[in-house]
């Protein structure tokens, strides 16, 4: 595999030509925030939190899908990027109903962590307060669409790891939502194996273990990473 050399935040790094900017940065200890990305699942490029300035004119590009290039000059942490990331997070908070104080995932939520890291302590936008549903029809898990950020991690984990493809997307724009099977209650899904990978993949409290109360939920994300490594590399690291 061809190797390329590029500069990330002034640091000269070498990467394989098929790697993304995100992979190259993380391999070199340069952090880039992400929400929809999960190592080992296909890239989605939906949340735009991983935007970096790359190439001539500092064009904004999602680091999770853009491949590295020879001589590329990448900036991951500029004032402009910090401002955009904060705005992206504000938009996510404004379009759903995210109430950390009474959320099952409080203290164990990637959206909350991202907001804290970005210094997003209040919204400059109006909340949209959408009316969204909670589905508790599944035996073990519930889905609260109020807390869903449409990252599609559940969709990809279910499809690519479990192979069930129970989850998918429905609707457009503000009406988008994740659905099970043909938009029927999760508990009536014929394809769901109840494996819990969607729950492990969910970055927020949108997919949760039934019976959990506030700040009580552990996604068990390490198990998902274990499975991804085991399946992808035939390594069973415990």
């Amino acid at each position: 595999m061809t190797a390329v050399t590029l500069t990330i935040d002034g640091k000269l790094v070498t990467a394989r030509a098929d790697e993304t900017i995100l992979q190259a940065a993380r391999a070199n200890g340069i952090p880039i925030p992400t929400l929809c990305h999960v190592d080992g699942l296909s890239a989605h490029g939906g949340c735009r939190l991983c935007l970096v300035e790359a190439g001539p004119g500092g064009r904004l590009q999602p680091a999770c899908v853009i491949k590295v290039a020879e001589g590329q000059d990448v900036r991951t942490d500029t004032a402009k990027l910090r401002e955009y990331r904060k705005l992206i997070l504000e938009l996510l908070f404004a379009e759903g109903n995210h109430v950390c104080a009474v959320c099952v995932a409080n203290g164990n939520c990637e959206l909350q962590d991202a907001a804290a890291a970005a210094g997003m302590d209040h919204l400059t936008l109006d909340y949209t307060h959408p009316r969204r549903e909670v589905d508790l029809s599944h035996d073990r898990f519930g889905v609260d669409h109020n807390r869903c950020i449409l990252c599609t991690r559940c969709v990809r984990a279910c499809d690519e790891l479990e192979g069930a493809h129970t989850w998918d997307m429905s609707g457009r724009g503000a009406n988008s939502k994740v659905i099970t099977d043909l938009n029927q209650p999760w508990g009536e899904s014929a394809t769901c194996t109840s494996c819990g990978k969607c729950f492990m993949a969910c970055p927020t409290g949108a997919i949760f273990r039934k019976g959990a109360t506030v700040a009580e939920m552990d996604h068990g994300r390490a198990k998902l990473d274990f499975l991804i490594t085991a399946r992808g590399r035939k390594q069973w690291n415990v």
Binding site: V102, V104, V134, L136, E216
Partner: protein, 473 residues
């Protein structure tokens, strides 16, 4: 010309309120009203949420008594799960609720009411507060603050945080009491009891000075409502709800699940707080009080030696005296003592360190009524859920709403005694507030109302026109 005096906002209470005093043609007060001016609306917010999340959401109703809301909510959840809560979890819940009663009562007495009692009803308003108390009597202020800390620390030890600990859950509790906290409680118990006994002695000594206030700060016969154990003992977690008449005789004693048969709620156009009354007796004869005074009037005994001695002395004042709302203060202190004694009695129970503290189940019952005693009085959470466990309908019946008719009668009684015209001295306005403070109302709890505290008094003429207004806060 006849007038109305408005006190807005009422200070040193939990929540926003104002008082209107209605004056007759001769300028004397004819009536007064206690208006709650805030709206919270939690009952509506609950709809569509999983009942498993309810305790933590309902805890947000109140930062002073979150444990009581957690407990009532979780008990409603227990019924929806249709499980028997493990005995160790019941003990831990009781333990936390005693700590809750203790710290909330300490706040009411030392932080909110003692400035009136120790510095005087007519003291300079700028100094008639906890800071004035600290300047005047630093030892007492410190002891009061440390007493509250004692209760708060127990709550934090169990729930991980002092305010809004999401620790009581349907089916049980989340953690046992850590060993190191148990030892801390043991070390601080003697001081907590000593502070309480000293405050009881102090208050009894002040009763002569406040003889006039005790006569008019809501002294009238009424029913009293509170939980009692199976043998009639003072109770804060479980048992039956007992209505006692002004003479102490039991009028009704029933399972709290039947509360709707016995308690009716009525909305008023001039307040966000509802008024409740004993349904079979109607709004007049059915007026009742809840909280420390009521609990001491309905129970047969406190169940611990020192608190029982105090109850005997309390009762020896006569039933007329124990219908005086001014004695809420004394009842509150006796309950702090009882709570400290109960905590002491349970501290070495190995169940406090048990691992069997949570029963899990699905939705086995479409409805649940949870009831416990909050510091301010009996509290009900009533939920209806869908087959999957989403809240369809919620009803919260809060202590302060249950005291609303009595609080209105209290401000009327005080106004009639002291207000003789439009020009009302500040010390008299403070007596109106102090009459309300005796009940230790929590308006943020009872109207589903937020914000800071502060009193407004309005003077209203017979034609309804506001002719005078006094603000503070």
């Amino acid at each position: 010309m006849p007038d109305r005096i408005v006190i807005d906002p009422v200070t040193r209470i939990e929540g926003h309120a104002k008082i209107s005093i209605f004056l007759g043609d001769d300028g004397a007060a004819t009536a007064a009203r206690f208006h709650v001016t805030e709206f919270r609306g939690f009952e509506k917010m609950y709809e569509g949420r999983p009942f498993w999340e309810m305790p933590a959401i309902t805890a947000r109703v109140c930062g002073i008594c979150p444990v009581s809301h957690l407990t009532a909510s979780a008990k409603a959840g227990d019924q929806i799960l249709a499980v028997r809560v493990p005995p160790a979890a019941v003990k831990l819940r009781r333990f936390a609720n005693w700590a809750q009663v203790l710290q909330s009562h300490a706040l009411s007495f030392f932080h909110l009411s003692s400035p009136d009692l120790l510095l005087g009803m007519d003291a300079d308003p700028a100094k008639r507060n906890i800071f004035g108390l600290i300047a005047d009597n630093p030892d007492l202020a410190r002891a009061g603050i440390r007493l509250r800390q004692f209760g708060q620390r127990i709550i934090a030890a169990l729930g991980g945080q002092k305010v809004h600990p999401a620790w009581v859950v349907p089916g049980g509790v989340r953690h046992a009491l850590p060993d190191e906290d148990k030892e801390w409680v043991r070390e601080r118990l003697p001081e907590a009891k000593q502070t309480t006994l000293a405050a009881i002695g102090l208050f009894k000594g002040l009763l002569d000075k406040f003889r006039d206030e005790a006569e008019v700060f809501g002294k009238f016969p009424s029913l009293h409502l509170g939980l009692v154990g199976p043998d009639g003992t003072w109770e804060t977690y479980d048992g039956n709800m007992r209505f006692a008449a002004a003479d102490g005789k039991t009028v009704a004693e029933v399972d709290p699940a039947r509360y709707k048969e016995f308690i009716a709620e009525r909305a008023e156009s001039w307040s966000y707080i509802k008024s409740t009354y004993c349904k079979p007796l109607g709004p007049d004869a059915g007026m009742y009080r809840v909280g420390p005074l009521a609990r001491l009037n309905v129970c047969d005994r406190m169940g611990t030696p020192q608190a029982d001695r105090e109850l005997v002395e309390f009762r020896a004042r006569g039933r007329e005296a124990t219908n005086a709302s001014f004695l809420f203060h004394l009842a509150r202190l006796i309950e702090i003592l009882a709570s400290a004694e109960r905590i002491e009695g349970m501290l070495d129970d190995p169940d406090l360190q048990s691992a069997d503290i949570r029963a899990e189940a699905g939705v086995n019952n479409p409805e649940g009524v949870g009831c416990c005693e909050a510091p301010r009085g009996i509290l009900f959470h009533h939920y209806h859920v869908t087959g999957d466990g989403l809240i369809r309908e919620a009803n919260l019946l809060i202590a302060t709403a249950q005291n609303n008719l009595a609080m209105n009668r209290t401000v009327t009684q005080i106004a009639r005694r002291y207000v003789t015209g439009k020009d009302v001295p500040e010390g008299i306005l403070n007596r109106l507030e102090a009459g309300i403070r005796a009940f230790d109302p929590c308006l943020s709890c009872s109207t589903h109302a937020a914000g800071q505290m502060p009193l407004r008094v309005e003077l209203v003429g017979p034609d309804g026109e506001v002719v005078g207004e006094l603000r503070r806060g």
